[in-house]
Symmetry: C2
Subunit: 428 residues, 2 copies
C-alpha cells in the first residue's frame, strides 16, 4: 500500500475528487454525533441507579464514629469516605480530605488558595511577579483553563510513551523558582491514555524544586478506569515515593467518583502529606462547616470498599470497551499504513488521542462539524488552546453507542483523508 | 425590686456568698450542655428524613428541560432549583446560581474571587493596598472569619433595633473607596434576631459607593425561619429595591437549605443582577462542570415549591419554639429588672442575643464552661473576636431539649448574677 506522501499529484487529485464525493454523500446523511467530551453514557448512569436505593426515610445517617451526617461538622469529610477515596488513590485515609462532587473544583480551589495564601506559608502567588506551571501536552483542557484563568504562565512539556519528558521537567523545576506546579494525569492520561512508567514516577518523587512552594498536581482521574480485565496499567503510588525520596510534601493528589458513580452527584477528594493537609484545612475551615456528608455516606454504603468499586468499574468497562474498539477498528481499517495519522490504543481512561499530519487538526475538526460530528476543539489539549503543530485531536468514545461511534469514526477518517490530500496538494 | 447597682456593699457581699453556694451545687451536678452553635436538633433532622424516599433506582433524574442530572453540565444549577431558591429569596429564577451544600462556601468563594479577579472587571483586591469591610455587630462570626482570613480590615458598625447604623454605613461606603463590602443578615439577624426595617433596606439600596466594586453581602440565612405563625417579620426584597434605586449591581444575596433540609446534605445559592452573575459565572465555568444536580433535583421534588418549604418550616418552628421560650422564661423570671443584662426576644432565626454588664461576658462564658455549659465564645460576635464592651453573648437554643435549655439557662443566669456581683464589688 502506498502512503499518501508517496502518491503523485495526479493520484492525489483523483483521490481528492472521490473523497469529496464521499464527503458530500456523508454530509447529506445529516449526522448529529458528539464525541467531544469524556462523559458517561446513559447505560453507565442507569447501571448505577441502585445507589438511589441505599437510603430511605428509615436509614440511620451516622458515620461509624457516630457523627450525624445530616448536621454540620467534619469539614474534612467522614472517616469512611476518606478510606474509600484513599483506597482508590492508594493512600492512607488520614492523608485524605473529602469535598463536594467535583475534583476540578478541588484543584481550582488549591490554585486559588495558593494565589491568596501561598503554599504551606509561602508568599501568596498573587504577590509574585511571575508564576509558571508546566503542562504536559497533549493534556486536559480544563487543567489548563484553571491556570490560565489565574494568569499563570503555562509551559508546554511534550508527552512521551512513558509520561512527560522528565529531562525537561527536571530542568524547569530544579532551576526556575517561578515554576510552582505541574499538571499530571498519571494513569490513562487525558487524552493519550498513557500511564507513567515507574521511572517517571520516581523521577517526579526525586525532583529538587528551586521553589519551596512547587507542587505536583496529580489528578487520579482514571485510577480505576480499566477497559480490559487482562490488560491493565498500574502506576507507582506517588505519595509514598515522595516520602521515600525525602520529599513528603511534594505532591497534591486529586480524585473523584464522577466517572464511577455520577458526575452530577458524586464525591471528590484530595490526598497529601499531613503538613500540606494542615495548611489546606486552615482554608477549608473558614470556607465551610462541612461538605455534603450524606452523599459521602451514600457512596460508602453503596460501594462498601475498593473491591466494590473495582467490580463496579468492570461493568463500566463492558459498556464502553466496544466503543473504543469500534473507533480503533475503523481507524486501522481505513487509514492504517497511509501515513496520514497516528493514534493511541489505550487500555483504560476515556479517550483516544489522534495525531494528524502537521497543520491539519483544525481543518479536520471543522470538516467533521460541517457533516454533523462534534469533536473536542483542535488545540484544546494544549496550553492556551494552541497546538504548535496543529496536529492533535482528542476522541471521546464513551457517550455515543458503538454503532454511532463507528459511523462517527467513518466520517472522521474521511475528513482526515480529505484534509491530508488537500494539505499535500497545497504543498506541491 | 432593687437592681444590683442599687445594692449596698453589704447586700452584694451577702448575695455573693449565697450565689457561690448555688454555683458550687450546680457545678456538682456535672451538666454537659452545648448552646454554642446554631444547628438543627435531631428531631428536626428526623422530621426531614422522607427526603430520602424521593428517589429510588426507578427514578428519572431529569430536569424539566430534559437534562440528565446524573451527568456533567448546567454549571449554574438546574432551572427548577433556581426557581425554588429564588422564591425563598424573593427574586426571579434567572437571577440565581445554585451551588453545593454550603452558602458559607459561596460567600467565601465570592470574596476569594474578588481577591484574585476583582468584581465585574475591577482591580483584583489582592493588588490593592487596603480593602475594608463593614461588619454590623454583634454579627455572624463565620462572616468575620472569612474577611479576616483574606486580610481584609474589618470595621465594626453598631446594630440598632432596625438594622445597622445607616448613618455610619452611608458615611463609610459613600466616602471611603477602600470599603468594598458589608456583611448583612437582614432577617432574624445572627445573633440578635433583628429584621431590617423598610427604611434600612431602602437606604442600603440608595447607597452611592465611592468604590465601583463595593457590594452588599446579603445573607438570607433565616429567610423562612419564623418561630410563630402570628408574629412574623418580613423585609423588603433588596435586589428589586436596588434596581429601583438605579443601583442594580449593588447586592449579592446568599441562601441555603442548611436549616431547612440538612446542613450536611442541602443546597445553596446566590442571587444577583445578570451583570454580576455573568462575571461570577466566568469563574464558576472554570471551577466546575456542574455542582450536585441530583441533590438539587431531590430538593425540588421534595419541597415542590415555596409553599412546601413554608409548611415544612412550620414543623421546624414547632420543635424549636419551646426551646426559645424556655430560655426567655428563665431569663425574665431570674434576672428581669435586676439591671444586669438585656436580651432580645426574636420571633425567628436561631439565636437569642444577651448583653451583660460591660466587662462581664468573657467571665460569664468561662463560669458556664466551668459548670458544664458551653456557650459561643464571648467576643465571637464581633470582628477579630473582640467585643469592645465585653458584653455580648450569643445563646443558641435549638440543639438541646427544652428541659436541657431550661437547665442550661438556670446555670447561665446564675453565672450572670455571680459575675455581675463580683464586677460591682470590684468597682467599689
Amino acid at each position: 500500500m502506498k502512503t499518501y506522501k508517496e502518491m503523485s499529484k495526479e493520484e492525489l487529485v483523483s483521490l481528492k475528487a472521490s473523497l469529496e464525493n464521499e464527503f458530500a454523500e456523508a454530509k447529506s446523511k445529516g449526522l448529529k454525533l458528539d464525541m467531544s467530551r469524556g462523559k458517561q453514557t446513559t447505560a453507565q448512569l442507569d447501571m448505577t441507579m441502585d445507589i438511589m436505593d441505599v437510603f430511605d426515610s428509615d436509614s440511620v445517617l451516622r458515620t461509624e464514629d457516630g457523627t450525624d451526617c445530616r448536621n454540620y461538622g467534619l469539614m474534612d469529610g467522614i472517616p469512611e469516605a476518606k478510606k474509600l477515596l484513599g483506597d482508590i488513590m492508594g493512600v492512607p485515609a488520614e492523608n485524605v480530605i473529602v469535598y463536594g462532587n467535583s475534583s476540578l473544583s478541588v484543584m481550582y480551589d488549591a490554585i486559588s488558595h495558593s494565589m491568596t495564601h501561598g503554599v504551606m506559608g509561602s508568599t501568596p502567588w498573587c504577590k509574585l511577579d511571575k508564576v509558571k506551571f508546566l503542562c504536559p501536552s497533549p493534556g486536559y483542557d480544563r487543567h489548563f483553563k484553571v491556570t490560565e484563568y489565574f494568569g499563570i504562565e503555562m509551559i508546554t512539556i511534550p508527552m512521551t510513551p512513558t509520561g512527560p519528558d522528565m529531562d525537561l521537567v527536571e530542568k524547569y523545576v530544579n532551576e526556575d523558582e517561578s515554576v510552582k506546579g505541574i499538571w499530571c494525569v498519571p494513569k490513562y492520561s487525558n487524552p493519550q491514555g498513557i500511564s507513567y512508567s515507574d521511572e517517571t514516577v520516581r523521577r517526579f518523587a526525586h525532583l529538587k524544586p528551586a521553589a519551596e512552594d512547587f507542587r505536583i498536581y496529580w489528578d487520579n482521574a482514571y485510577a480505576v478506569h480499566h477497559l480490559y480485565e487482562d490488560k491493565q496499567d498500574e502506576i507507582l503510588e506517588i505519595l509514598s515515593e515522595c516520602e521515600k525520596a525525602g520529599n513528603p510534601d511534594l505532591v497534591l493528589e486529586f480524585c473523584s467518583t464522577s466517572k464511577i458513580s455520577f458526575a452530577g452527584g458524586g464525591i471528590a477528594g484530595m490526598a497529601a502529606s499531613l503538613a500540606n493537609l494542615a495548611s489546606i484545612k486552615e482554608g477549608v475551615t473558614v470556607r465551610t462547616i462541612g461538605y455534603d456528608k450524606v452523599n459521602q455516606l451514600r457512596h460508602v454504603r453503596y460501594f462498601k470498599d475498593l473491591n466494590g468499586v473495582l467490580a463496579h468499574m468492570k461493568k463500566h468497562a463492558e459498556i464502553i470497551r466496544p466503543k473504543f474498539e469500534a473507533v480503533l477498528t475503523v481507524l486501522e481499517r481505513e487509514i492504517g499504513g497511509l501515513g496520514i495519522g497516528e493514534w493511541t490504543k489505550p487500555v483504560g481512561g476515556y479517550f483516544i488521542s489522534f495525531d494528524a499530519m502537521e497543520g491539519c487538526a483544525k481543518e479536520i475538526v471543522a470538516k467533521c462539524k460541517e457533516a454533523g460530528v462534534i469533536l473536542t476543539g483542535a488545540g484544546a489539549t494544549f496550553p492556551y488552546g494552541k497546538d504548535p503543530k496543529d496536529s492533535n485531536i482528542r476522541i471521546a468514545p464513551t457517550f455515543p453507542t458503538p454503532e454511532e461511534m463507528a459511523a462517527a469514526t467513518d466520517l472522521f477518517v474521511l475528513c482526515v483523508k480529505l484534509v491530508s490530500v488537500n494539505k499535500l496538494l497545497g504543498n506541491m
